[in-house]
């Protein structure tokens, strides 16, 4: 397939997808679970891809995602709450110290930039650490951020441990799709560039990469800062989706969930992360909800064990099984594309053909 036809396919697929979403919104009730899944799924897809850029493509096992999302979410919220609502939001802090609001897109970018700025600062020392030490240091960083944001001395800025609310949100499912889509497209373009190749080289063999003239410190920090930028943007989107935010939401459990999405999708596959983000959210928010229902009957059979929390147990068991027995995840390091799909069907067809030929021969 030539580059142009590939491009044409991709563009038409994206347009078709957006049109479908638009159509769905017109015909389905807005309260439908489908929209919850699509909205949250799009946001998680972005953060999962940003984590994959770091863990999957650069080989840096970082667990700071929740911290960077928190930074993005707070930056977004603090910069967009309309001045007239500030008195009620910051009721314990005299309306806070920020008394202006900036447009939503700018605030989202600002959220990304703040997250990236923090990543730049801590990346300097932390990225020298090896695999598991890096993981624990970034996890620690996220915890520190969470504690600092709840500190009441910072209340005029962060509203302490109280909710932030009244900031602009989105209604249409198209909004998170378009924003996440643009961000993911940027990440993919980066991965396909010469920088992406350098990242993969670092993942495969640091020493060899360095011997090939790749500046490890510089490139690792680049990956870390970029990944954090997009985590920050997704944090802003999450704030818009949730309509209220609080520092206590961004626990390490959140990072773990994102990590599991990445693992299920395939470490090193962007499309894998996207698919698995939607699957993960769909299962946890929708398809497996019935497991939490104590009065669930199949015919007249009362299904035992079902009650609040069972869904998550089943979920965790499935995830463990995946980690143990299906380690490459849904996509491995492959990417979903029209071409790959074509090849897949062609192979399927050819193999059948060969078999038939073999049969007739016998």
């Amino acid at each position: 397939m030539s580059k142009k036809t590939k491009m044409a396919w991709n563009v038409s697929l994206i347009v078709a997808l957006l049109a479908l979403l638009f159509l769905l919104e017109q015909i389905m009730p807005s309260g439908s679970m489908l929209f919850t899944v699509l909205k949250k799924g799009a946001i998680y897809a972005l953060v999962a891809v940003s984590m994959n850029l770091l863990n999957g493509f650069t080989g840096l096992f970082s667990l700071g995602q929740a911290g960077f999302m928190l930074l993005g979410a707070y930056t977004y919220a603090i910069l967009t709450i309309p001045p007239e609502s500030r008195a009620s939001v910051y009721q314990y802090y005299d309306g806070g110290i920020v008394n202006f609001a900036i447009p939503v897109p700018l605030a989202l970018i600002a959220g990304g930039l703040i997250a990236a700025g923090f990543a730049f600062l801590i990346g300097l020392p932390v990225l020298r650490l090896k695999s598991d030490y890096l993981a624990i240091a970034t996890l620690g960083f996220a915890e520190i951020i969470r504690a600092v944001f709840q500190w009441d001395k910072l209340g005029p800025l962060t509203n302490g441990s109280n909710l932030l609310r009244s900031f602009p949100t989105f209604q249409s499912v198209l909004y998170p799709f378009i924003v996440s889509g643009i961000c993911i497209a940027l990440i993919v373009m980066l991965i396909n560039s010469t920088y992406g190749r350098a990242f993969k080289a670092i993942r495969d063999d640091e020493i060899a990469a360095e011997a090939m003239g790749i500046n490890l410190a510089h490139h690792k920090r680049l990956a870390f800062v970029i990944s954090s930028f997009f985590a920050g943007v997704s944090g802003g989107l999450l704030a818009m989706y949730q309509t209220t935010i609080q520092a206590s939401m961004f626990k390490s459990a959140m990072t773990y969930e994102i990590l599991l999405i990445v693992v299920i999708g395939g470490i090193g596959s962007v499309t894998g992360s996207c698919i698995s983000a939607f699957l993960f959210i769909a299962c946890s928010e929708w398809w497996l909800r019935f497991l939490d229902n104590e009065n669930f009957y199949i015919g007249s059979f009362h299904v035992p064990l079902l009650r609040a929390g069972f869904r998550k147990v089943v979920f965790a068991v499935v995830i463990m099984a995946m980690v143990l027995f299906y380690r490459q995840g849904i996509m491995g390091t492959k990417e979903f594309s029209v071409e790959a799909l074509q090849n897949f069907f062609r192979k399927l067809f050819v193999r059948k053909g060969v078999k038939k030929a073999g049969d007739s021969h016998e």
């Binding site: 940027l186 980066l190 560039s193 190749r197 080289a201 060899a208 011997a211 090939m212 003239g213 410190a217």
Partner: protein
């Protein structure tokens, strides 16, 4: 080549180079020069400090004491510091004291034009043969993050790819272009490592046991191959090797290390007949 002439043309010069790990001196006051266009082999029994010397040249270790020059420019310099000040047992302890410490990271050394291969092959495992070479082109880029991401460097990218293809052809790796690097047979992996090093457009190539694990036939081919790429790429080669056939065949000069110390240097014939070298390799069996 006369000594004087080499001095002027030295591509690489190690000066009083010492590496001490804890209380062990791995490389002991080694000085040597590699002239332009020359193949210099570094030989010696196991544990003589050859790879350590390489690692100092390529920036993996900073030497404990001594300096390294590349094309007349000082690129590495160090003097015993901190705890090592007291522990240091080597010579010339005060020679570099008070001078500027120069300890570049390996990537900086490579950017100067010094590329290397590894004793235990280190290819990028999940990448194809072509991609392995293409990655080495990254350091020659003029694009930045922005232009690279938005494909504004299309011409440069195309050139990188074309040069990589070219290199594949010269190195006879075209037929395995899209194979995973690690799926190649051992000998081809060694070729690929050399190809990858060449992709950084070096003037000085450091080969760490390029013939390790090869049979006599493969070694012979490698010998010719090294000779060929020296001419084709105008390289200076500094090589560690154990296969004496290979070493004697293609080296212009040989430098011998034993227990970290230089014990001999000269043309292959001179070194071959040097009693100290024979003793080092045979463990003094001649006296008994």
């Amino acid at each position: 080549m006369s000594n004087e002439k080499r001095e002027r043309n030295a591509v690489l010069k190690l000066e009083n180079l010492t590496m001490q790990f804890g209380g062990v001196i791995a490389v002991d006051n080694v000085s040597l020069e590699v002239g332009k266009g020359e193949i210099l082999s570094l030989i010696g029994p196991n544990g003589a400090g050859k790879t350590t010397a390489f690692n100092m040249v390529t920036g993996v270790y900073a030497p404990t004491n001594g300096a390294i020059y590349y094309k007349g420019e000082k690129i590495v310099q160090n003097t015993p510091q901190g705890k090592m000040k007291k522990l240091y047992q080597g010579e010339n302890a005060g020679l570099y004291a008070g001078k500027r410490v120069i300890a570049p990271t390996p990537d900086k050394i490579t950017k100067l034009g010094i590329a290397r291969t590894f004793q235990n092959i280190r290819l990028f495992k999940s990448q194809t043969v072509f991609e392995n070479i293409l990655i080495a082109k990254h350091m020659l880029r003029t694009s930045n993050l922005f232009t690279a991401t938005f494909h504004l460097n299309a011409r440069e990218e195309a050139q990188m790819r074309q040069e990589s293809e070219e290199l594949l052809r010269i190195m006879e790796l075209e037929d395995v272009r899209d194979e995973l690097a690690t799926s190649l047979p051992y000998g081809k992996q060694r070729h690929l490592e050399i190809a990858r090093a060449l992709a950084t457009k070096p003037e000085l190539l450091l080969l760490d046991e390029p013939a390790a694990g090869m049979n006599p036939q493969e070694t012979l081919e490698l010998t010719q191959f090294i000779g060929r790429i020296r001419g084709e790429f105008g390289l200076t080669i500094f090589m560690i090797e154990h296969h004496m056939d290979l070493v004697m065949e293609i080296s212009d000069r040989i430098h011998v290390l034993d227990f970290g110390k230089s014990i001999a240097e000269g043309k292959p014939d001179e070194v071959r007949n040097n009693p100290r070298v024979i003793e080092a390799y045979l463990g003094g069996a001649q006296d008994e």
